[in-house]
Symmetry: C2
Subunit: 158 residues, 2 copies
């Protein structure tokens, strides 16, 4: 099992890729990403609380949530291009940078024995934007969030 | 006025960019891209007929249309990440290649005197996919479609 998240910048494309294995079935990981009450429990750093403002997790639907931290609120939004059992494709914008848009793809790869590899890809239109995101400390939110998700896999929440 | 569409492949990014000027206001070009009855009149090659299957042109909405040509039908679909007066951001999939997803951005740039520059950008996650699209003869559909749109700008349709 990969315990840490592998985070990689593609050398030739403005893409960030992440990989992490979970002690969950693909169906459980799918639910953790599409059920708003479950998603709000794990996404983001430990210090933030997530409030789902809009959530319509079907192909052609859309979403918005707000992360609250130390009295400040940060909005995120996008649309769901495709919701499938093995793959989710969606757009992503941080409302503090409204011109920036990422195209995100998530794959749930069955490893057998109740384990699943989550692979994600985030594509943007400049290397500068991609590298600024990598330098932003995003790995803290990613790792703390996935650690919460990992606990939900084993404590019966999923 | 640019009479032909300028179509450019970015040398460093998996992006196709297009530019074309129209004898229309930004508002007219916006309507031509968001009103389904207008959009169906101009999109695609002369030899195809477009049937809108679903169309919800608002931020967080989605769309699907079918192009019919010689008895064959080709479906296209996506979601609208952002619908603004100066910018539309949407996803795009040709259903014949369901794994392929492009993130498309359109800008309506007011040139004054009732003229508008349309700039578009289509971002995908591989250079191979981008280049296959460029080699597919897509410029025929683009140029014939925009020629129809140009006629709609001057014949009173818009």
């Amino acid at each position: 099992m990969t315990k840490e998240t592998r985070i990689e910048a593609d050398p030739k494309l403005p893409i960030i890729r992440m990989t992490r294995d979970f002690a969950a079935t693909p169906e459980q990981l799918f639910r953790a990403h599409t059920d708003p009450a479950l998603f709000a429990q794990w996404v983001g750093p430990d210090a933030t609380a997530t409030r789902i403002e809009h959530w319509d997790a079907r192909t052609g639907g859309s979403w918005r949530y707000v992360s609250a931290h130390d009295g400040a609120e940060y909005g995120f939004r996008g649309c769901f291009h495709e919701i499938g059992p093995d793959r989710i494709v969606q757009t992503f914008t941080f409302e503090g940078d409204p011109d920036g848009v990422a195209l995100e793809t998530l794959w749930f790869e069955d490893l057998g024995d109740g384990r699943t590899r989550l692979r994600t890809q985030s594509l943007v239109d400049t290397f500068e934007g991609r590298d600024a995101w990598l330098r932003s400390g995003m790995e803290i939110g990613v790792n703390e969030g996935y650690a919460k998700l990992e606990r939900m896999c084993t404590d019966g929440t999923l």
